[in-house]
């Protein structure tokens, strides 16, 4: 019985996703936004390619959120604020010290790791396993504090980092932005490094073990509070790395973090909460569908957010486990 419901929900999810990806095309054809010529196909390819690369970056910071969730069952609402903080750190090193945004990662990531560690130690360690409202509120308050401190220092001005602004012409008609390619490669590299760390390293394995069963991890001699702190540190580092990669592509101001939090939510729900690879796939899928909607539906850019929220709510309803998440008991 359980098994069959399980399989059925999988089919429903597949059906939902297929429908979600077909809708933009259908609406596009209906509203004459789809042209059947080579030029248009090239444009479509460009949009999808850009979407995939965008998704890589989204996925990277979503992975941080999914790690925290997996290990502690906490939803860190301040995750996006850490992304924003990462963008500002990168910007500071770029403008005041003159360090290349990518090289700056060597400095910003350790800083981020320590920030994550401290947040966990001072605020969250005591509330893991308690009522879920408490960490939600704590991280929310933390996010608000970060936003307004950054605002007090940097004002609400939008900032950008001019970095590799040119296009890479793949074919006659398909062009991809260089900064996106660099970001995507970096994001893939960082995500995969963390993935291998989790797979191979002793502490990485302990993180996975704690995620599966914290009590048993404890009797194995794992100090789960250390693990919590390391996880938070890693998640913060991923968020800040995400921020760095976002900062070389887009403008940012203290309020942009909220958007990334919501995006990361949608991604981890789609991919399956607590599932690492799921988050990576979810990130790319979400970014691609956003691009398709924006490209083919009239006034589509305004509806992009519906895609994220709609997908999030529907996936939660159809199959709370998402694409690859573990079964809930």
């Amino acid at each position: 019985m359980q098994e069959r419901a399980e399989i059925r929900s999988k089919y429903w999810l597949a059906l939902f996703l297929v429908a979600a990806y077909t809708v933009p095309f259908a609406v596009g054809i209906y509203t004459e936004n789809v042209f059947f010529d080579l030029q248009w196909l090239a444009d479509l390819t460009t949009v999808i390619l850009n979407g995939i690369m965008q998704g890589g970056v989204y996925a990277m910071f979503a992975v941080g959120l999914t790690l925290i969730f997996g290990v502690m069952r906490i939803i860190n609402v301040a995750h996006g604020e850490l992304v924003m903080l990462g963008a500002y750190l990168t910007w500071m090193f770029f403008f005041y010290v003159g360090i290349d945004p990518l090289l700056a990662l060597f400095i910003t990531l350790p800083i981020a790791f320590c920030i994550g560690l401290l947040i966990q130690k001072l605020l969250l360690n005591a509330v893991v396993g308690g009522p879920e409202l408490t960490p939600l509120l704590i991280t929310f308050g933390l996010g608000l504090t970060i936003i307004h401190i950054v605002e007090a220092i940097f004002t609400t001005d939008y900032r950008t980092i001019p970095y590799a602004p040119d296009a890479l012409q793949l074919t006659e008609t398909i062009a991809v932005s260089k900064s996106k390619i660099i970001s995507f490669v970096m994001a893939a590299f960082i995500s995969l490094s963390v993935f291998f760390f989790l797979k191979v390293h002793r502490i990485g394995k302990a993180i996975r073990a704690t995620a599966q069963n914290a009590d048993v991890a404890m009797v194995c001699g794992i100090n789960i509070f250390h693990i919590y702190m390391i996880t938070s540190g890693l998640a913060a580092a991923l968020a800040v790395a995400g921020g760095a990669l976002v900062s070389i592509q887009f403008g940012f101001n203290p309020e942009t973090g909220v958007l990334y939090t919501l995006q990361a939510f949608a991604i981890i729900v789609l991919g399956g909460r607590g599932h690492y690879i799921g988050a990576l796939i979810g990130g790319v899928m979400l970014a691609v569908i956003e691009s398709l909607i924006s490209f083919m539906i009239p006034n589509g850019t305004a509806m992009v957010e519906i895609a994220s929220y709609g997908m999030m709510v529907f996936v939660l309803l159809i199959r709370p486990r998402g694409l690859m998440g573990p079964k809930e008991n």
């Binding site: 069952r73 709510v313 939660l316």
Partner: protein, 312 residues
């Protein structure tokens, strides 16, 4: 609970009504506005409390119903020429129906998933309000005809607040409330005792959705200009939560007290310290959540200042 205790509580309520009713003519416009908005947040905090305080289903998207209410009022007044009072009932009705439609699937989700789903639903509604140009005027917003309305809105909000308080009190003291509490403590156990948890959750959810709609409608008529960004502002949900939590969730007095204190502290501080106030606000949320999760009333009960029965 003892009969005289009910009497005493209603006595306190009566005093509140009298004080709030005789005040307005002696106040200037700004003062009336401050009290009106305070009452509005009392309504919001108490409504949030009905679903999240009693059943433990923490909603991160209650601003949705507030926004629906304000849009109902604005659209009906501007595009259909209605008088503003009947529009409140339409807003309430729409909110009620939507809360049932959304609540039925979403309330199956547990804990943080419910919270996220509600957040998504609220943000989704905001986008719909932005995109559905022909009906909601999109991001341009809706301006209502200009009239002096501070007395009307004040008393309308007072009435809504009283209804909310009475309903909350009833929820807190009835079998209905006891069953909601049972669901909060252990839903599976509650079901095994024969409590139809879906029915109770859904009822609580719908109850908690209608008052914000009325409050939103009055607010729209008071502000006379609405747009999706402000009507579906996520911070409104956060205020609801914070005020209720600060006072003590799962109680009736708690959210009222929490709102009165916090809202007015905020009113004083932001004028003087615009940025510092917002930082302090964030820190304050963290501290309340971390060290005072049961709020002022919980604290008072622990200290023996207030009896448990009084607040439940």
């Amino acid at each position: 609970m003892a009969q005289n205790e009910h009497l005493r509580n209603f006595g306190m309520l009566a005093i509140l009504i009298i004080v709030l009713s005789v005040l307005p003519p002696n106040l200037n416009l700004y003062q009336r506005s401050v009290i009106m908005f305070t009452m509005m947040y009392v309504v919001l905090a108490l409504s949030w409390n009905i679903i999240s305080g009693y059943t433990g289903y923490v909603s991160f998207g209650h601003v949705m119903f507030y926004g629906i209410g304000s849009y109902a009022t604005a659209i009906l007044v501007v595009d259909y020429g209605w008088h503003w009072i009947p529009t409140l009932f339409v807003g309430v009705l729409v909110s009620f129906v939507i809360s049932l439609c959304i609540g039925f699937p979403v309330l199956r989700l547990k804990g943080p998933y419910f919270a996220i789903a509600m957040l998504g639903a609220a943000e989704g509604t905001r986008v719909v309000a932005t995109v559905w140009d022909s009906f909601t005027h999109g991001g341009e917003g809706i301006g209502l005809p200009n009239v002096e309305n501070s007395f009307e809105t004040y008393f309308a909000m007072l009435v809504v607040m009283l209804v909310t308080i009475v309903v909350s009190y009833w929820v807190g003291h009835s079998r209905f409330g006891i069953r909601l509490n049972a669901i909060r403590e252990d839903e599976i156990a509650a079901e095994s005792l024969g409590i139809n948890s879906t029915f109770y959750k859904l009822s609580a959810f719908a109850l908690s959705a209608i008052f914000p709609a009325a409050a939103g409608g009055i607010q729209a008529y008071k502000v006379l200009y609405i747009d999706p960004e402000t009507e579906f502002f996520i911070l409104v949900t956060i205020y609801m939560k914070l005020f209720a939590m600060f006072g003590g969730k799962g109680t009736v007095i708690g959210p009222i007290l929490g709102t009165f204190i916090l809202y007015i502290v905020q009113e004083i501080t932001w004028v003087k310290f615009p940025t510092a106030h917002l930082i302090a606000f964030g820190v304050f949320i963290v501290l309340v959540a971390r060290f005072m999760p049961r709020g002022l009333m919980g604290f008072a009960i622990d200290k023996g200042w207030a009896r448990k029965g009084m607040v439940h």
